[in-house]
Symmetry: C2
Subunit: 79 residues, 2 copies
């Protein structure tokens, strides 16, 4: 069973890396760019047939290792 | 208009960073983990009301800066 986890910085947390990319694109002439933020995307393949169990395992991974809950938030999607 | 761009390594490209995370999770006792790959997630806000035009601008950004087309592939989604 495959899941995607999208990890983004919380709304009020500064994203300097995203800002650099944003400014670079603007200096390349893309004027309609209003805002850009960078996050992480993780694709996880599990040996687990029960969707609810699998979801809980992913949730566990996020809380224990993948996500810094102080500054980041995450979304889990089945793919 | 807001878009999400998901950038992943092509299937045949090694993902050493993902492997490290995978092994760490396995050593933490998560045995059902079969495979894990890391990618990038970019949220882009555009000053553009025409969806097709906006999509083309994002496509342009991907090809010119965001994506290394030799080893990466990307998906664009309106959010």
């Amino acid at each position: 069973m495959k899941f995607a986890v999208i990890i983004t910085l919380k709304k009020d947390v500064l994203d300097p890396q995203g800002k650099v990319v944003e400014h670079t694109l603007q200096s390349m002439g893309i004027n309609s760019l209003k805002n850009l933020r960078q996050g992480k995307y993780i694709e996880i393949d599990l040996n687990e047939t029960d969707e609810k169990k699998a979801h809980n395992i992913i949730e566990d991974m996020c809380k224990k290792l993948l996500v810094n809950l102080i500054i980041e938030e995450y979304k889990i999607k089945k793919i």
